[in-house]
């Protein structure tokens, strides 16, 4: 169903947040939530699929790595949780994924490019490369006060 112009405008400059337990059983819910919002904003279906996959890869990493048992979490006393802050602006969607698990040296992590990994039939380590391939900005920050934040930005290209 196409959006009337005033509804599309209503979707702009919006802020939404969702909190879920840091558990893999919530990944479908997160993907659908983010995908529905991107669809309302007017992203083409191919970009929506890219956004959904990038968010899924990011949240999967949080569940699998940041909240891995026996790792040193930033806030050890709290239950694992993922918070997504989504901001829709006229020409972009900004998705911030927060956790309080183990910190990650994101800038230093430079895995082989996807074609190289595929050539070697590697079975893992694709997630961050996919985010970097599919999103326009991917940045990571971490502090004891605010926890870990992965920020994904996708520009809405005018046709």
């Amino acid at each position: 169903m196409s959006q009337p112009a005033h509804d599309a405008g209503h979707a702009a400059d919006r802020k939404l947040s969702i909190h879920t337990p840091g558990h893999g059983s919530y990944l479908t819910y997160i993907r659908n939530f983010v995908g529905d919002l991107a669809r309302q904003v007017g992203f083409p279906e191919e970009d929506i699929a890219k956004i959904e996959m990038s968010v899924d890869e990011a949240c999967s990493n949080v569940v699998k790595h940041a909240y891995a048992p026996k790792k040193k979490w930033l806030w050890q006393h709290r239950h694992p949780e993922i918070r997504l802050d989504l901001q829709v602006q006229a020409n972009q969607i900004i998705i911030e994924i927060h956790d309080h698990g183990q910190q990650f040296d994101f800038a230093a992590y430079r895995p082989d490019a996807i074609p190289e990994r595929l050539k070697d039939m590697k079975t893992n380590g694709y997630g961050i490369s996919i985010m970097r391939e599919f999103m326009d900005e991917v940045t990571y920050s971490s502090s004891d006060a605010t926890g870990n934040t992965l920020r994904l930005v996708k520009y809405l290209k005018k046709t």
């Binding site: 558990h23 990944l27 993907r31 191919e46 996959m53 999967s60 595929l118 893992n124 996919i130």
Partner: protein, 116 residues
């Protein structure tokens, strides 16, 4: 939103695994168990029917490469069938279709296992 489901069918010496729902890091271990069982039982020709698949993440794709590699070492393969267009575009963009065979017709897919 469909629950993840796996259905199993055997045609000759080929195992057809029909998938429904989302294949992400949460649901993938169920398929992994099934595929490991097939390989342990000496079933190296495996066709994954993705017609009702909503999503596949890199954990699933990466693991499928691993299973395909194991099966190829024994003369078989793990191939994909009926991949929805939305998923196909993504895996093609990333290059996974260069290492995983994708078919659009079940008969042709089945025949491809014995064509070598």
């Amino acid at each position: 939103m469909k629950d993840f489901r796996i259905e199993q069918e055997t045609k000759g010496n080929i195992q057809i695994v029909r998938l429904t729902g989302s294949l992400d890091m949460y649901s993938f271990p169920r398929l992994e168990t099934q595929l490991n069982t097939h390989l342990q039982q000496g079933h190296y020709a495996i066709l994954l029917d993705c017609k009702d698949l909503d999503y596949i993440g890199s954990a699933g794709l990466g693991a499928l490469i691993g299973f395909a590699k194991q099966a190829r070492e024994k003369g078989g393969d793990v191939k994909l069938l009926n991949v929805p267009e939305r998923i196909y575009k993504i895996i093609e963009l990333l290059g996974f279709t260069k290492v995983l065979q994708v078919h659009t017709d079940e008969s042709a897919a089945l025949a491809s296992f014995t064509a070598h």
